[in-house]
């Protein structure tokens, strides 16, 4: 589903992502782990077509992000780490706008909005202006917006930040269910326990370079994901 080959993104002379290659198969729930400033957000933004990269190729569902951006965007969704949404719209107006842009048919959108708003307990607040939403409510809204056109691949940047325990539980359940139905999720997180319990696959990045990648069992072996992560960080620090 997602193929990144030799991705390099530089800011000035500094390579934030350096020759990164990774593959994620359809139906997989993949955690993207790394220290602050490792290049996780840059990688995700490059995959979504938000950020132009310097070298390498990114293909999603067989389509090049660089050459066929519109076709790629129809197949993906992106949940940013900080939900900066159109505060002048109400929640329902925002969802309607997203559904219009993705051309989700009338009856289908009504059903999906109802279903996901109920899942994330946001139905009653949909008439409120987004400017009146809390951080968690904005997170929930952006998640509903991401799911509304049923993408094949969802990129999430720190999706659990700001969510209450109920919403966090609902999101984990929804993520699992989405992947069980054939969808793919690639999300960055610092919560290693969640990644360990939830994910099929894990990618660890350090200073823009791939440190480890594979199925959860392959990467962690007999130890915990936290031990593996710290070991990888420690090895490099010692060097």
């Amino acid at each position: 589903m997602l193929h990144i080959e030799h991705l390099t993104k530089k800011y000035g002379d500094v390579a934030v992502v350096d020759d990164l290659s990774l593959h994620i198969e359809p139906g997989k729930l993949c955690a993207f782990i790394g220290h602050n400033g490792a290049g996780k957000t840059t990688t995700i933004k490059s995959c979504c077509g938000i950020l132009q990269f310097d070298q390498g190729t990114i293909t999603i569902d067989g389509l090049s992000v660089k050459d066929q951006p519109m076709e790629v965007k129809k197949r993906i969704a992106y949940i940013p780490d900080n939900p900066d949404l159109y505060e002048f719209l109400s929640g329902i107006q925002y969802l309607q706008f997203i559904a219009d842009v993705y051309q989700v048919p009338g009856g289908v959108r009504d059903e999906r909005i109802h279903r996901y708003a109920e899942t994330f307990q946001l139905t009653k607040d949909l008439a409120q202006r987004i400017s009146e939403y809390s951080h968690g409510m904005k997170q929930k809204l952006v998640m509903i917006a991401a799911l509304i056109h049923e993408p094949k691949l969802i990129f999430m940047d720190e999706p659990f930040v700001g969510l209450d325990p109920i919403a966090s539980h609902a999101l984990k359940k929804e993520m699992r269910s989405f992947c069980d139905q054939g969808g793919t999720i690639f999300f960055s997180t610092h919560v290693l326990e969640v990644a360990e319990k939830l994910c099929d696959q894990v990618v660890i990045i350090r200073k823009g370079r791939l440190a480890a990648s594979g199925s959860m069992d392959e990467v962690r072996g007999t130890s915990s994901l936290e031990d593996v992560f710290l070991e990888l960080e420690g090895e490099h620090t010692d060097a």
Binding site: I50, K73, Y86, Q96, I98, V101, R109, D110, D125, Q128
Partner: protein
């Protein structure tokens, strides 16, 4: 603590300047040119007002009417300072983004407010001085010899008048903040209050200047009763006339209310700040949602943004309201206006003008004059110019959504045109029935204002794509003070004035007005086509580099 807070405000300003330094020489130059332009416009406004007072000052000095002159000018200056600062007071005192952060620190609310009130005072002083400095200069130019004591009697109270505007601004801002917290769509409240203030101000300005004008011309006798009724203005007038007791009165009447307002607002600051967040909750009732095409959805989103922000409507779309107002005023006072125009333009060095009057001497003049006026009004509409910057941190949507960058930009241009063109076409059509002229002039009256709207919409969009600013703290920074807005409005105005000058100087003997306007309209269309071509190619590419802001 107050020093620390004032230093914080200075650091905010300096950090912006430092950020600009990192942008490179070209960006710095454009920022510098923008600052110079801003200064020139300020001077231009001040000079225009100076000319009004220059006419009045000399006869009033002769009549020894110092207190009347300054008293009435202070009313106008105060009104200007109030209009300029009332919404700034609301946003900077009660809705400032750092209120929560500062209130969580061991800082007394009174100190937070004092630091902000100083900056509000400076703003009010700047607004007031557009009026008061020209009034003062006109007076001292005519009143010889210059005496330092007289100057001090004018200068000292002039520094204190803005305090009264800040006080009234605080009270009005507080009332607005309280009212806004109970109103669902507060932009309409803001627009309504602004319109009342604006029309009230223009009414007051016209009344005061015509009264002073009449008095100076010896047509009227002013007893000063009206002025005495407005005690602070009366005291200011007396102070400027050299009464030191009144100087003290002005100082007291401006500082005491300000201190009272400061203490009052400090006392209830927590309550005001928290109450403004408490809007009336509306529960969503599920219903069948309408379905739009992606392009229409983008247009609807632009429309909702425009009408969600009162200051966006007021600053960027006031010309749309002015066009029908002008049309109605013309319909009512048609005869008077034509007569005044004939008198005003009688000195223009065009054949037969002085003899027969401007509107009857040259064919189509009335229609062309109205077309030019509507074009001037079109230059005051700047919906597109701040529209990309207003995306702010939500610009990532443009990168992730499956819509082309050109559609994203053209939705903004489309809204601008949908807001303006129908209004201007209706106004032009109304004028067709009121004024004589050829068919060519009638067609031009319809087309040229529309073309000017197209040009301004595209110019604004192109300027904003070239010079966006996404890191604003208050949307007013984009709407009121951004370079694209300024260049767009002033550029359009300058083009019209330049065209008029070129015609009168060199082309009047070769072309008639209708032919000249036709050429200008074709030129506008050609420039618009060029801007459009860039927007859908270079503009789209440029937009793609902004998504990761």
């Amino acid at each position: 603590m107050l020093k620390v807070l004032i230093r914080l405000r200075m650091q905010e300003l300096m950090s912006q300047l430092n950020r600009r330094k990192k942008r490179g020489i070209a960006q710095n130059l454009s920022q510098g040119a923008y600052a110079v332009l801003m200064g020139l416009v300020y001077l231009f406004c001040a000079f225009s007002i100076f000319q009004i007072f220059d006419e009045i000052a000399e006869p009033m000095i002769r009549l020894n009417a110092d207190s009347l002159y300054f008293g009435y000018s202070s009313i106008i200056g105060f009104g200007l300072a109030l209009i300029g600062s009332v919404f700034a007071t609301q946003s900077q005192l009660f809705e400032a983004k750092d209120n929560d952060t500062l209130l969580s620190m061991p800082i007394r609310p009174s100190m937070i407010l004092a630091s902000r009130m100083i900056s509000l005072y400076i703003q009010a002083l700047l607004y007031e001085n557009i009026m008061m400095i020209p009034a003062g200069v006109a007076w001292f130019v005519h009143k010889a010899p210059f005496r330092v004591s007289e100057f001090a009697c004018w200068f000292i109270p002039t520094l204190f008048v803005p305090m009264l505007a800040v006080t009234v601004g605080i009270v009005l801002g507080w009332v607005l903040a309280m009212a806004s917290s109970h109103v669902r769509n507060k932009s309409y409240l803001q627009i309504g209050v602004s319109m009342v203030l604006l029309f009230g101000y223009f009414y007051m300005f016209s009344q005061v200047t015509s009264e002073l004008d009449g008095f100076a011309a010896g047509l009227k006798l002013i007893t000063g009763q009206t002025l005495k009724a407005i005690w602070p203005a009366y005291q200011y007038g007396l102070a400027c006339a050299g009464h030191w007791g009144s100087v003290l009165n002005v100082i007291l009447v401006t500082t005491i209310p300000l201190v009272c307002a400061w203490l009052f607002v400090s006392r209830f600051f927590f309550h005001i700040v928290n109450d403004h967040h408490r809007a009336k909750r509306v529960e969503y009732v599920e219903k069948k949602l309408p379905v739009f095409s992606p392009r229409h959805a983008l247009l609807v989103r632009e429309r909702r943004r425009l009408f969600s922000d009162g200051s966006y409507v007021l600053n960027s779309a006031l010309g749309i309201l002015m066009a029908p107002v002008f049309t109605i005023v013309f319909l009512i006072f048609r005869g008077d206006i034509l007569e005044v125009m004939d008198k005003l333009l009688a000195g223009v060095s065009l054949e037969n003008v002085a003899e027969h009057g401007f509107f009857s001497a040259i064919e189509d003049t009335g229609l062309i004059a109205v077309a030019v006026f509507l074009c001037l009004l079109a230059t005051t509409i700047s919906i597109t110019a701040p529209s990309l910057s207003l995306e702010g941190k939500t610009i990532w949507h443009a990168g992730i959504l499956p819509v082309r960058g050109r559609d994203f930009l053209l939705a903004k241009v489309k809204l601008h045109l949908l807001m303006c063109v129908p209004v201007f076409v209706v106004c032009s059509t109304v004028f067709q029935f009121c004024l004589p002229g050829s068919i060519a002039a009638r067609i031009l009256l319809l087309i040229s204002p529309v073309m000017m709207n197209v040009l301004i919409a595209l110019l604004g969009m192109v300027m904003n794509v070239l010079h966006p600013r996404f890191d604003w703290i208050s949307s007013q920074q984009c709407i009121k003070r951004s370079m694209p807005v300024f260049v767009c409005m002033l550029g359009g105005f300058f083009l019209i004035v330049l065209s008029g000058y070129v015609y009168i100087q060199w082309l009047a003997d070769i072309l008639n007005l209708t032919q000249f306007l036709a050429i200008c309209t074709v030129l506008m269309a050609a420039i618009s086509a060029g801007l459009f071509a860039w927007l859908v190619t270079g503009g789209e590419k440029r937009l793609n580099t902004y998504f990761s802001f």
